[in-house]
């Protein structure tokens, strides 16, 4: 996928997340893109590692900065707790008319992810993202308990109860994503 096609996808994602009440800071975008790739099987080409606040892609962080340099996104400063909001600019809107096919192809997956996580804060997104990470990390690890234990092992500040809840939510979202795709 070309760089500007990705910009169109992220602009649409940022808009939809905001519509669903998201703060839409960089961390929110990181997690939303991870879920977009992992739940809806839309490959945007980003490799994620498990980092301080869950799955994180350095390439995505670089691209988001690059898009700001190109005027496709801007930062809107906001009071704490999460830092500035990423806002798509008019340039992003113009690109959307050029990349209509990409925009159309991603409309439903983006809507799905935005409605699933748009109202969630960074703490919840960290849990959900990590739950998906442990699920995809080893597909033979099927039981909720095993995956919750793994999540708790990787992120000890997430209790086993919270981890179990996050894994169950991810299972529901995966099922819903599969249903949408059919």
């Amino acid at each position: 996928m070309k760089r500007l096609q990705k910009a169109v996808v992220f602009a649409e994602l940022a808009n939809k997340l905001a519509e669903h009440g998201s703060w839409c800071g960089e961390t929110h975008m990181q997690k939303a893109v991870y879920l977009l790739q992992g739940l809806t099987k839309q490959d945007l080409g980003y490799d994620y590692i498990l980092y301080k606040h869950g799955p994180f892609s350095f390439d995505l962080a670089d691209d988001l900065t690059g898009f700001r340099a190109d005027g496709i996104f801007k930062l809107r400063p906001r009071p704490e707790p999460y830092g500035p909001t990423l806002v798509a600019t008019e340039a992003a809107e113009r690109l959307r008319s050029v990349f209509k096919i990409t925009s159309d192809r991603f409309r439903e997956p983006i809507q799905f992810v935005a409605s699933a996580v748009g109202n969630k804060g960074v703490v919840e997104l960290e849990r959900l993202g990590t739950a998906l990470y442990v699920t995809l990390e080893d597909l033979s690890r099927r039981s909720v308990e095993d995956r919750a234990a793994r999540l708790h092992e990787l992120k000890p500040h997430v209790s086993v109860t919270e981890a179990t809840e996050a894994v169950k939510q991810i299972d529901k979202l995966r099922e819903a994503a599969n249903t949408c795709a059919q």
Binding site: L4, D70, P77, P84, K100, I101
Partner: protein, 200 residues
Amino acid sequence: MQEGGIQSAEALLLARYFMYSQVYFHPVRRIYDHHLKEFLEAWLSGGKFSTDLAEHLAVTDNEVTAAMLGAALDPTRRGHAHARRIVRRDHFKVLYSRNPQDVDVNPESGQAIFNAMSEQFGPELFHHDRYSQKGGSQDFPVQAKDGRIVSSMLLSEALQHLPLVSIDAVYVDPAKRDEVKAWLSSRRAEIIKPKEEAPA
């Protein structure tokens, strides 16, 4: 950081921006990087520095400089073209560089121009240099005078408007520059106009 230090942070970040935009990404420095990389790729065995420690350490600036001079003077040696450009200071020159009006139309205008030029005149005459600043943010927590923690971007107008480094330039063989420039000047607007996405 405390609020009293915000101007020092502004100064530091602005100084870094100027270092990048005026020094590290100066077009002549960048094009010499390109010629050097191309020369090394042609000259080094397998196009890369050896990963054997002794062999790696045996190649110093002296070996590279001597090889470059030798290659510059002898057209039969590997890497001659780029070595000659460095030694004779006959480096590629800027044909096109990022312009805000063009970026508004197409954020990848440099790529569009490079593609069109390469197709018309041959790719060996051109080099496309594209770089956008990676990561890093001017947003960090600051302790305000009343003890509250606030975003640096809320406290500082300067940080809100701190530019990001983005390089998008096309270089051309100086021998062809005038011809290519004349060809480009009447077609630039058409070339950079983004083409609507076609079905896969």
